[in-house]
């Protein structure tokens, strides 16, 4: 039950993009096409879960040594290395998967969603299992927002959006209205 609440909370109520403002750059940047958005969501889910596990372990070390202020540096170092590692391995082991996800990987290093979720997992004092679920749920939330959003943008490509609003501005307006709609889920958990 606890886990289900975590999932609903992260996907709908505190959607990572629409209410937490994390991962906005890829949200705006790679949401032009639905297929790209799906690929990106997959890649994020993959990295987010692994990163949360690894940072969880790093955090144990930091706590043991009593140097919590090293969190940012160690997390980002670990995440950067991890992303690169995943990329290298994926390229060799499964070129198909690499084609689908790999091209998004570099973008993910500098995606605040990953680091953000890792830090949130710590701040919420989640245990490892809940942390993984939390990370995955956030990735799903990210994917949900991203794919929905890309659907709308794809449709708008065929519409007559006024010149000044085309592209990024209108993307933000859509995000705003989506965020408004998602406010309806406030406090359901």
């Amino acid at each position: 039950m606890e886990l289900i609440l975590i999932i609903i909370g992260a996907v709908f109520v505190n959607n990572i993009v629409l209410s937490q403002f994390l991962g906005i750059c890829p949200f705006i940047g790679v949401s032009g096409k639905v297929n790209t958005a799906i690929g990106m969501s997959g890649a994020v889910a993959f990295v987010m879960v692994i990163a949360t596990v690894v940072t969880y372990l790093v955090q144990i070390l930091l706590d043991k040594l009593g140097i919590p202020f090293m969190q940012t540096v160690s997390y980002i170092l670990v995440i950067a290395a991890l992303v690169q590692l995943v990329e290298i391995i994926l390229k060799k082991v499964s070129p198909a998967l690499y084609q689908a996800l790999g091209i998004f990987l570099p973008l993910i290093t500098t995606n605040c969603a990953i680091l953000g979720v890792a830090i949130l997992t710590y701040q919420k004092e989640l245990d490892l299992v809940s942390g993984v679920v939390f990370a995955f749920a956030n990735a799903v939330g990210f994917g949900l927002a991203l794919v929905t959003f890309s659907g709308i943008r794809e449709q708008l490509d065929l519409a007559n959006v006024p010149k000044g609003m085309k592209g990024v501005p209108v993307a933000f307006i859509i995000a705003g209205i989506l965020a408004m709609a998602f406010m309806g889920f406030a406090n359901i958990v």
Binding site: V34, P162, G184
Partner: protein
Amino acid sequence: MSKLITVSPSPHIHSGQSVEKLMYGVVIAMMPAMLVSFYFFGLGAIYVTLLSVASCVGFEYLIQKFILKQKPSITDGSAIVTGILLAFNLPSSLPPFIIIVGALLAIGVGKMTFGGLGNNPFNPALVGRVFLLLSFPTRMTKYPLAEGFNTPLLIPTNDNLDAVTGATPLGLVKEGLKNGESITSIFQHNGINYTDFFMGSIGGSLGEIAAFALIIGLVYMLIKKIITWHIPVSIVATIAVFTGILWGFNPESYADPLFHILTGGVLLGAIFMATDYVTSPMNPKGQIYYGIGIGVITVVIRVFGVYPEGVSFAILIMNGFTPLINRYVKPRRFGKIS
């Protein structure tokens, strides 16, 4: 021959259907509900409706003329529909400023930002209404009591707001449940009865109170072929089933399906707002998925969320999913090789 003959590709005849006819058809279908609101909320309702329609049409004209530099198309009636539906979603006790902001959001943000009629991904009236709900929660969750023309035309100040307004039946139930009361006691306590829902003598926003008037509108639109049954029916059926399950599970902490369908904006939303062409899926199958989505989200928000009313949010959220539905749910192609 003195004048030139015309050449064009086929077809050379037209059904005669037009955007204007459809939009004014919707306006006619909304008349019963509008009259009921005038009857119960008196001058306040008339004032809210007029101001809302006037500002929607006005903003559309100004934006088209001065910002987008297009030929204004206010005569097509879509802004009027938006104006009336926005008014239908507001309590009759709002100060003018808030109504105007709502209209600006509906038309300016919800519609013209995307290029005007036909291009907007979200229902404009709901964009306006939800923005107001988030921005002015106090005002937007307090409804004048339905006392007919006896209700003086009065816009309460922050101080006497409590005295002249109340909550909707949904709000009362929600609060009661939060306080640990049972459904039966809440109903008794507040004198809730179903005839009132049907006839409209309950607190609420202008358009949501009278089920019978809304249903007349639905029948009119079905006969006139303005809309099809798919969306309204799938929404109502989903809500009935979902709340029915909860109710069967524990009738003391979940209200019955009829209560859920008759109260709040379910009928208003299902009949007039979810059916908005622009923002709903393009084929019957998609429309049914869309309706089911709205139904489920509505109940989730009502039962588990903070808002006593979830239809507006549910429709907006499903508006967001509409492009995906359109992308993946296609009409049955003739001769599809299976």
